[in-house]
Amino acid sequence: MDDEKIQYVTKPTRFTVFLRTFLPWQAWRFAAINLKMIEIIRRSHHGDSPK
């Protein structure tokens, strides 16, 4: 990659990168993300079964 291109790109801090694989934090995020996804799935499945 050329240096000029990379100069204008947002990059994560070391702490952000650390959190991505920090097990206690990720266990919490696993639960939180699942809840968010269930909400989307619930809103998208309306009146599924035949009448």
Binding site: M1, R20, Q26, F30, K36, I41, R43, S44, S49, P50
Partner: protein
């Protein structure tokens, strides 16, 4: 007794057939016509493509599953639709051709076209693994071929060679940029794991106007006090991993060691590679249709891109006039009330991303994605409508507009239970609705994304859960699409 025939056994067709069978009485029949003997959980093909899984881990034979479920399976490719029957018999039917060349008629009362895409490697000179110069992960066999090629590259790098990897899409009108994105970040992760990352130059080539578009106009995420476009996060991930990128590109030709491309601003460029995985553009599978007199009526049922006309608004209009209401809700053919389309087989009214053309007139704009969750949702809704119509309903009773449904998506960014990551995303709705959500077209409280190990765990969970569901094991109906 009613006969429901489903063409295709991908995510949309398999879901539709399974629900139709489970909701219909035993006096009714459900028949699946598909040329391939196996079900393929396509989202996991990227892991086959980097050598982490074998094709057998993302596929299973359909015949025993259908036999157990009471679904008739015809292993053949659908060719013609005769929605009015013919002079001898007024019963609608499709013709299907098996691998040995035998053609048979399959009569139906209700038809679901879920034939998915034709992989149009032929649209770009030199594209594709079958006689071309690039690899693919569209099919398990393609993905296994890519994994073998990657293993060879790794061996060369272990001997000290530097190698160049090019990943992305091989035409200006491709879709499924998300799958190619997963492949490039998994590839990078695997090269690190195998200790050769420092000898690899990795480049992304895409038809997206900005990174992170993924054919759905990108998305905006609330983070750190700002509403930030997905392009920022995508560029950040690439920069962090040392992946270079070429955007707004239409690949014109794939030579053995380089691609030639044109960009939206009319410039031409080339990029050399040793290993290229480039996804093809899609079209419909080329079904034809005939009336009772034998006259061809294909253009009444299909658009020129061979996808099926449904209840969408296909009036050509400029991007500024696109509306969420253009998108289909019931997926019923406007000409034949007993024909539906589901998944990739339905013709979208237009793109989701803003379309662009180069000064030469080359269209460089991602086609809209309609795989995974929306495909399954559409298949289920169509099955529900058909079951109700068999029960006496005069019109479809179920809807699954992509402008009214959300999607949850997990994009793998490296597969390892402790060091892997994936981008978990939700969007609501999939097709932006600027009348309901004037700022960004989507509900900002329900559109989110983050990258982390938790996403990888969810991705693994979904792999097993959806294969369990597709095998129609006990309780499969309780697993959402």
């Amino acid at each position: 007794m009613s006969r429901v025939v489903v063409l295709g056994a991908g995510i949309a067709g398999h879901t539709a057939a399974a629900f139709a069978r489970s909701w219909l009485g035993r006096g009714d029949t459900v028949t699946v016509v598909s040329p391939r003997p196996d079900y393929n959980w396509v989202p996991s093909n990227i892991w086959v493509g980097v050598g982490l899984m074998k094709p057998a881990q993302v596929t299973f034979p359909l015949a025993p599953v259908y036999e157990r479920a009471g679904i008739e399976f015809v292993q053949a490719a659908a060719k013609e639709i005769h929605p009015e029957g013919d002079r001898e018999h007024p019963t609608p039917y499709v013709t299907a051709e098996s691998a040995d060349g035998e053609t048979r008629k399959v009569p139906y009362d209700f038809l679901i076209n879920a034939t998915g895409p034709a992989l149009r490697f032929d649209k770009t000179d030199g594209l594709g693994p079958e006689g071309g110069n690039s690899l693919s992960v569209c099919l398990p066999t393609h993905a296994a071929q890519a994994a073998a090629a990657l293993a060879e590259e790794v061996e060369r790098m272990r001997k000290g060679e530097r190698r160049r990897f090019l990943v992305g899409v091989g035409h200006g009108t491709c879709t499924c940029e998300g799958a190619a994105f997963e492949y490039i970040v998994n590839l990078e992760f695997e090269l690190r794991n195998r200790g050769v990352r420092d000898r690899a130059e990795i480049t992304w080539v895409t038809n997206e106007y900005e990174l992170g578009d993924f054919g759905m106009g990108g998305m905006h995420l609330k983070r750190g006090g700002y509403v930030t476009p997905s392009s920022i996060f995508n560029a950040s991930l690439f920069a962090e991993r040392g992946i270079d990128w070429i955007t707004r590109a239409h690949v014109q030709k794939v030579e053995p060691d380089r691609v030639l491309y044109e960009t939206v601003d009319g410039k031409e460029g080339e990029k050399e590679f040793d290993f290229a995985m480039l996804l093809p553009p899609f079209s419909g599978v080329g079904l034809t249709a005939f009336d009772s007199e034998g006259a061809e009526i294909t253009e009444r049922l299909f658009l020129p891109n061979e996808f099926m006309r449904v209840d969408a608004d296909y009036t050509p209009k400029p991007h500024e006039d696109w509306r969420a209401s253009d998108w289909p809700r019931t997926y019923q053919s406007p000409d034949y009330e007993n024909i539906f389309a589901a998944g990739i087989a339905f013709a979208p009214p237009h793109a989701i991303s803003v379309p662009h053309k180069s000064p030469n007139g080359t269209v460089i704009a991602p086609a809209p994605p309609r795989t995974g969750m929306p495909s399954a949702m559409i298949g289920k809704a169509v099955a529900g409508s058909i079951v109700d119509m068999i029960g006496g309903a005069k019109a479809p009773t179920h809807t699954a507009s992509m402008a009214e449904m959300g999607a949850a998506c997990v994009a793998s960014a490296g597969a390892n239970p402790f060091t892997g990551t994936a981008a978990s995303m939700t969007v609501y709705p999939i097709v932006p609705d600027f009348e309901r959500y004037p700022d960004y077209g989507r509900d900002q409280d329900r559109t989110f994304g983050e990258i982390g190990l938790a996403g990888h765990w969810i991705k693994i969970l979904l792999h097993h859960l959806f294969l369990y569901k597709a095998r129609l094991r006990p309780g499969w109906r309780r697993i959402p699409e």
